[in-house]
């Protein structure tokens, strides 16, 4: 048999969808089969990822004192307590607003950035390095940095605006929800941009040159070309970007925790931050919030995939 099989069977099965019965793939390794190869990874995930999820669900149906003593079953009490919490509705609303605003802004700006970075221009390398910068610094560090820039007494922003005469006296940007939310959204978009832009950039680079040639010969304008060719062909990368951002932004914790701790009260908390706050008073209620949060992420992603026709694209 030659070194190179003319048709490689494994490459015929495309992506995650093609697993079932990929014909040419060999049976499991002899002897113990695949077990020694996957068992360590699977065991670890069961112990450290799956087990906590199960524990979480169990905890949410228990009565637990602050000291951690289990005082019997609580049924759905913790869930009703959570839903009746005076902060809950606001937290939920803001979580949705937060996710929608941050994900949409991230996708739009990333589209523009990817388009720009896909062109050749002097200084492109520097610009690409700058694109990566927020990614290389940790999210937490970025958030802390912004917090100090927004600091009421020593922050750069206040100093600058005072000097320019834009404001009369220093503002406590993170002290009131009205200004804290927009600033935290800015930070969230800022840290989401690098990965998203690179995903879209990778997508742009897979569009073959001759498609653009053809469009140009047909006399398509640049906007026509963009909406008619670039956007549709960018769809897979765009969907990946949206899904990953939906999960990350919805579950985002360090930004808000570092900048406002969800305060004052729970006025600047999303569900994950609220869950963390609840941990201080009622572990079971906090677990209930986690379960609700996880359910919401799954529903959100599934709904998006359904609406966007993800599977259709994968099978095509």
């Amino acid at each position: 048999m030659p070194d190179q099989a003319p048709v490689s069977p494994a490459s015929r099965s495309r992506g995650p969808g093609g697993h079932r019965g990929a014909p040419g793939r060999r049976r499991g390794p002899a002897g113990l089969g695949p077990l020694p190869w996957i068992a360590p990874a699977v065991l670890l995930i069961f112990a450290v990822v799956i087990w906590p999820i199960l524990e979480l669900v169990r905890t949410s149906f228990l009565n637990i004192s602050i000291a951690g003593v289990v005082r019997g079953s609580a049924g759905f009490d913790k869930y009703s307590k959570l839903f009746d919490d005076s902060s809950f509705a606001g937290v939920l609303l803001w979580t949705v607003v937060w996710t929608l605003v941050v994900v949409s802004a991230t996708m739009l700006i990333s589209l523009a950035l990817a388009q720009l970075f896909n062109q050749r221009f002097p200084g492109r390398r520097i610009a690409r390095w700058a694109l990566i910068a927020p990614w290389a610094a940790s999210v937490l560090m970025t958030a802390v940095g912004f917090k100090w820039m927004l600091n009421q007494t020593a922050g750069v922003l206040n100093t600058l605006m005072l000097d320019l005469g834009l404001i009369d006296r220093s503002k406590d940007w993170l002290g009131t929800p009205g200004t804290a939310w927009p600033w935290m959204m800015v930070v969230a978009v800022f840290v989401s941009l690098p990965f998203t832009t690179y995903t879209l950039l990778a997508g742009l680079q897979t569009i073959p040159e001759d498609v653009y040639e053809a469009a140009r010969i047909d006399g398509a304008g640049s906007w026509q070309t963009y909406t008619g060719i670039t956007l549709p062909m960018l769809r897979p990368a765009f969907l990946v970007g949206v899904v990953i951002n939906l999960i990350n932004v919805f579950n985002s914790f360090p930004i808000i925790w570092a900048m406002t701790r969800g305060g004052p009260g729970s006025d600047t908390a999303t569900t994950t931050v609220f869950m963390f706050q609840l941990k201080e008073t009622d572990i079971a209620e906090s677990a209930a919030m986690s379960v609700v949060n996880f359910g919401m992420v799954v529903v959100l992603v599934l709904v998006f995939l359904k609406v966007s026709g993800w599977n259709k694209e994968e099978d095509a």
Partner: protein
């Protein structure tokens, strides 16, 4: 990279050549002339993205008094003692060492276990193949933050709380889903002929894996390795939860967070910024060394 004829080769040496607008794109219909507007957009982005980091580095060289007086200024004299203070007094050196030790274990473990699992999932059919794959894919959607309380209890029960092995195990477990998912699609793209040839030649599975498949998968391994390095180096939640007992075993992000809070009382702002700067160095080094692989790897990972 070098296809451009007329203009400076990729602008490596011409930082932000702002004015020159008449650049011919390589893609006529779409890589069009960069107009003033889009150029301004890029400049704004560069300033916004790199500005804060530069500000942190510059501020790290100023005294606390200067910083309080005028946050925006440049250092009048280089305050190297900020770095000494951060490294010694604020224990940043110790925390950095802790981080390195943890990462040595967790990164190795993540890559080895992830590559092994991905190899088998991608290359062999066996009962439960699909279920195992879905386990990894589903694990990506579950964030650490939700499982904090039960994870704490479980690690406590396993006597792994506040130990290095415990933290390493947790890092590995939470990195594995994405790593395996990514590497599975990567292994699927590799030609199967070489693997078959190796086995026909009588190489064992272990040998085929380590001497044939791993070297072939190197680009994918490097990019997911860097991705994991960034994630684990900056990991804050897991150590906060599982490694919070002894201040002497803190990892770098914990140390920085502590420093950020304590400087509010201590007033040593210079040390805080020096600490932040120190934490950035390894990341920047890794990034600069492997930049090309990060880019190439993302292409493979995101779209395959």
């Amino acid at each position: 990279m070098s296809a451009q004829v007329q203009v400076a080769p990729d602008g490596a040496d011409s930082p932000r050549g702002a004015g020159s607008s008449g650049v011919e794109g390589e893609r006529p219909a779409h890589g069009r002339v960069l107009n003033v507007f889009s150029h301004a957009f890029l400049v704004v982005w560069v300033v916004m993205a790199a500005g804060p980091l530069l500000w942190v580095v510059i501020t790290a060289f100023r005294s606390s008094g200067e910083i309080l007086g005028d946050p925006m200024g440049f250092p009048t004299s280089l305050q190297w003692e900020n770095f000494t203070n951060a490294w010694l007094d604020a224990n940043i050196g110790k925390y950095a060492l802790n981080s390195l030790i943890i990462l040595a274990g967790s990164l190795t473990g993540t890559m080895l276990l992830g590559a092994m699992a991905a190899y088998v999932i991608a290359r062999f059919t066996f009962p439960g193949n699909r279920a195992v794959f879905l386990l990894f894919a589903g694990g990506m959607m579950f964030p650490i933050i939700l499982a904090l309380v039960p994870l704490f209890t479980i690690m406590d029960n396993l006597s792994l709380l506040d130990t290095r092995p415990g933290l390493i195990v947790a890092y590995i477990a939470y990195s594995l889903p994405f790593t395996t998912f990514f590497l599975t699609s990567f292994f699927q793209t590799l030609p199967s002929g070489v693997q078959e040839a190796a086995q026909i030649d009588g190489a064992s599975h272990v040998r085929t894996f380590f001497q044939v498949m791993l070297p072939m998968a190197k680009p994918g391994l490097v990019s997911i390795g860097i991705f994991n390095f960034l994630g684990q180096w900056n990991q804050y939640l897991l150590p906060l939860l599982l490694n919070n007992e002894n201040e002497s075993s803190y990892v770098l992000p914990q140390g920085l967070a502590t420093l950020a809070i304590s400087q509010g009382y201590g007033g040593d702002w210079g040390a805080l910024f020096a600490g932040l700067t120190i934490a950035m160095v390894p990341v920047l080094v890794v990034y600069i060394v492997f930049q090309r692989q990060v880019q190439a790897g993302l292409t493979a990972g995101a779209l395959k």
